[in-house]
């Protein structure tokens, strides 16, 4: 199946000379939740702007649902719903008014039943006749999402959806994203909250300084790049490591009461069985053990740090 979004060598140089996107190639599959991760100023928002038509690109090509965003801009944009980072609403409009305006703007015939379901899903139904100016910040953000979904897009872009959002709204938003995926909608979200990507995404792309550093299935990424850590809680404090473990990546913590061993989870020989055998030979007993996988955050910091 061809990708729903296909960026080829997308380059954006702003008028001030800043190279925001440097020949970005990126293919996003239909129906997936894709998280674009990167620090501030990495080019995430610019990339979304190019695909959605709010930023003109310097060179390159983008296809959305098979349509070129320049030649077939109508069909391409019709497939897209965009929730930008900043809340931008006509404060005098009503919730219902602005959401149905968005639907009409995309040339869709009225469908009050769909809009009602949408507003109910976003807990906005009770507020449908309120003016935007009367709503809280969180409610306004829900309105932004309702507007983006009002024309039933195939692809939804969420630019920093949970920045400055309370826990309730964040939970609702995640539930909504999952529901959308169940309906076959492709969701692309940018974030610098790693937990968000880790929790939500099927695939993760890391972007920094206008270049895509990596695109990977989230689980594979964590397996491939993840370090694991084995911690042993010792029965007796150990003043120093036995000679048989000299040179191993082992740290004694908590006054010798804990022994921590870092290893590469993807290696064929993790070294863990050898470690345990040698500890037994040296007469070191332990009461408990735990292993932890490193988070996406560790991976991310590692990647961005290495690219810099």
């Amino acid at each position: 199946m061809p990708p729903i979004i296909d960026c080829a060598a997308v380059t954006k140089r702003y008028a001030n000379g800043h190279l925001a996107l440097d020949a970005v190639d990126l293919a996003i599959d239909k129906g997936e939740i894709f998280a674009l991760l990167g620090p501030n100023g990495a080019g995430k928002t610019t990339l979304i702007g190019v695909v959605c038509g709010t930023v003109s690109m310097t060179s390159g090509a983008v296809r959305v649902a098979g349509f070129d965003i320049q030649r077939d801009f109508r069909a391409a944009r019709f497939a897209i719903g965009l929730v930008p980072q900043e809340i931008a609403l006509d404060i005098f409009a009503t919730v219902w008014g602005t959401v149905s305006f968005s639907r009409r703007l995309f040339g869709r015939p009225p469908d009050p039943a769909y809009l009602e379901r949408l507003l109910r899903d976003l807990s906005l139904w009770e507020k449908r006749n309120s003016r935007i100016v009367e709503l809280s910040g969180g409610m306004k953000r829900r309105v932004m999402i309702a507007k983006a979904l009002s024309h039933q897009p195939e692809v939804l872009f969420l630019d920093e959806p949970t920045a400055g959002v309370d826990v309730n709204l964040r939970r609702d938003m995640w539930a909504l994203v999952r529901r959308l995926r169940d309906d076959g909608v492709t969701v692309i979200l940018t974030t610098h909250y790693i937990e968000e990507a880790e929790e939500m995404a099927d695939r993760v792309g890391v972007i920094d300084k206008g270049r895509v550093l990596l695109v990977e299935d989230k689980k594979a990424l964590m397996r491939k790049l993840g370090k694991r850590r084995l911690t042993l809680v010792l029965t007796r404090p150990l003043p120093a490591l036995p000679d048989s473990l000299a040179g191993w990546p082992i740290a004694l913590e908590d006054g010798g009461r804990r022994l921590a061993y870092s290893f590469d989870a993807s290696a064929r020989d993790t070294g863990a069985p050898t470690l345990l055998r040698r500890l037994a030979e040296a007469g070191v007993d332990f009461a408990d053990l735990e292993t932890t996988a490193s988070s996406l955050e560790d991976i991310f910091v590692d990647l961005v740090g290495r690219a810099a």
Binding site: Y14, A15, G49, C52, G53, T54, V55, S56, D72, F73, R74, A75, R77, F78, I80, L82, P84, E86, A88, L89, D90, I91, F92, F101, S102, R104, L105, F106, G107, R108, P109, K147
Partner: protein, 256 residues
Amino acid sequence: MRGLNPGGVWAIYRYELSRTVRTIWQSVATPVITTALYFVVFGGAIGSRIHEVGGVSYGAFIVPGLIMLSLLTQSLSNASIGIYFPKFTGTIFEILSAPLSPVEAVAAYVGAAATKSIVIGLIILATATLFVEVRIDHPFWMVAFLILTSVAFSLLGFVIGVWAKTFEQLAVIPSLVVTPLTFLGGAFYSIDMLPPFWRTVSLFNPVVYLVSGFRWSFLSQGDVSVATSLGFTIAFIVVSLAILTWIFRTGWRLKP
């Protein structure tokens, strides 16, 4: 979706007009009161000394100029605010990312701004009939000039709205350029009444041609020929469209 998006154009057009309906009293009362004041000041106070210009009472003479004055300022401000405001609040992202061509977007915004101006022009005309006997010799051309002028200045207003980065810039062209040009453009006098030097200077004022043609449609008399006026109005529209084409081709001040 591959064809045109008339639904989208209609949505913007309706939305823009609904902004006016929200402030209906302000939108209607302002031109009515302003017109009444002009008639009291120009028609009553000054007109009682001037009596007749070119065979018609001064009150009737200034009706086309009065309508033109409002038409120009209203078209400019309606169209410039119509596009400036979404830029200012950020809601323009939705217009830029919608399946609308630039021509459709301009048609919607300019159409709405021109519609408002035309309605206001007609309200002023109706108000004027309360004060003076209004004669319209060429109704077809009167309506044609009303529409063409509104469209021309709404297009210019759209360009100003795209260009403006602040509210001050938004106000500067209407108040510092268009209003003076209108007052000096024969809205309240015939340029024949000027000394020869100033008459020649006036011919460089574009508003003279607009007012003249419009006045001709009422009174069959103008400062320049009606064909010149018509040609000028159409040239104005063509130039504005050319600027807009360039704006949308380059994304100037709309898209980074």
